[in-house]
Symmetry: C2
Subunit: 353 residues, 2 copies
Amino acid sequence: MHRTRARLSDGREIVYYDELPGRVPVPDPRGLPPVEPVCEVRRDPLTGDHVTITAHRNTRTFLPPADQCPLCPGGPASEIPDPSYEVAVFENRFPSFDVRTPPVPPMVDGVERARGNGRCEVVCFTDDHAASMAVLPVSRVRAVVDAWADRTAELSAIPGVRQVFVFENRGVEIGVTLHHPHGQIYAYPFVTPRTERMLAMAAGRDLFGDVLAAERAGSRVVTAGEHWTAYVPAAARWPVEVHLMPHRHVPDLAALDDAERAELAVLYRDLLRRCDALYDDPLPYVAGWHQAPVGEGRDLVRLHLELFSVRRAPGKIKYLAGSESGMAAWINDVAPEAAAARLRDVTAGGAYG
Amino acid sequence: MHRTRARLSDGREIVYYDELPGRVPVPDPRGLPPVEPVCEVRRDPLTGDHVTITAHRNTRTFLPPADQCPLCPGGPASEIPDPSYEVAVFENRFPSFDVRTPPVPPMVDGVERARGNGRCEVVCFTDDHAASMAVLPVSRVRAVVDAWADRTAELSAIPGVRQVFVFENRGVEIGVTLHHPHGQIYAYPFVTPRTERMLAMAAGRDLFGDVLAAERAGSRVVTAGEHWTAYVPAAARWPVEVHLMPHRHVPDLAALDDAERAELAVLYRDLLRRCDALYDDPLPYVAGWHQAPVGEGRDLVRLHLELFSVRRAPGKIKYLAGSESGMAAWINDVAPEAAAARLRDVTAGGAYG
């Protein structure tokens, strides 16, 4: 794969990933003003969790014309100047974390603070606006996997970054406004609260190996290959939730070998097709790659995908109300065993002929 | 206040709270089949958090006619047989936790399990379908506070209950389908994940006293009285978030004295009115009372309200996407200091003449 770097008109980086060499990036004609992010991380004294305050994002002025997608290639409103691309990655114009964010005092009102150092990127999977990850050829899914791995390695090397999160939000039900197939990457300056919990549970044992072995022996496996197993976890929080875990203990996408990446491209696309076949229309979902922290705790966490959906029935979504959003106590109306059976039994290719 | 107990036709308990004695409950004419809840608690091996599986709730058959509210008094579809009431509390017909739920094996596929022992209640604040907590007279808000306190004491005494959560979900934006003013109570058989975090942070120090002192000295106080202070927390996760904390270290609503309850009724209603005055229409919100665990850790957690909203601008809501729902890493686009200034400056009575 060939990587070509360029800059957008406001100084943000854009990186093209191509099968063949020779891309000569088209300059960004927009003359955008410089990005001036203000991101601050505060540690909640009641829970110890890090919360990020990004007041600049609520006043977003960048609204492309309704008929112009900023992720379609070229054109006056596009974030991607080139007239065509395979996989393109660029720095988010409204980042939650950014290396350019100014310093903050380390303690105010008894609360630890830090500047939101890090980086947020947008990953475009294809220049075809009407496509989706599930309908791309396996070779393109593999190219996306390689791009994710390359971004993970590069963002992990930014001084101060503690964890890199690769994810895709899809569907208006979870607030997605850009329908062009894309995902995001957050490089956090802290270890996320969910991963902190995993680190606490993993201390002194092979937590992920144990969980994988138990799930493979259980009744919730959806599909599996030589290198990966997909299963609905025993304590699933969402009506649709699938984890995809590698059989080898690797910290992140960058550590996957060629055979693992090749199988992942096939299995991941199969999984998305199964999800889309559950109901009459494509499933809204969050697909998040949990990766080990950079530095301390790196050996304790195994790379894995957690994919979930708010859809609990055709036309019905699960809302997070008092118990979930107030107390973090999830109530799931769907038995994980039943969810696994449905995902196992759907014809993965059905929705795609 | 006078408490009157009765049973609905399927055996569920209903409790009326009245200013005057003498209520003679009307029998429930519906002849409902017995409630047969199946609630199972599983401990997520990756995080240690308890997740509750309630497969019986996804097949709810109880759908009242569209023109008949089950919380309006009397009538063939009502859950409250009496023709009028002040405050009425009854066991939820589709509970997430219930003392009647059958046993489960303690360990399956390496995952700890327990039956979802506990109790879920619905609390009706008024028999006036068109009212809301914010427009009720202070005397009725006080009656609701007294009912909450009484329910907390009673549910805490159920063998196996570890924490009682009193809350109100309001607004279609968070999935509320019954518009009649009401809240809920969950009596959990475990300490909720959010409270577990607070217990860890509170070990060996006066966490809540320290936080309250820092917030009272800071710039985010919204309103305060002799016994309570309302503030936007420094590390607020939501675009609108207010905590209301008592000045005295009490574990739960049942422990509040008369003066604290009296002031709470005034301040809580004032706070809701401020929230409703933020935008053109009433604010969708979750208002949750965090109470100390029953038993171990009881002295470490102070009663407080956490009220928050998904609304980040008129007509716009904050969606929980990858970072929040995948990693529990909240990104808040609104500075807590700005949110506090807005809540301080709105005329609380404005929306109500």
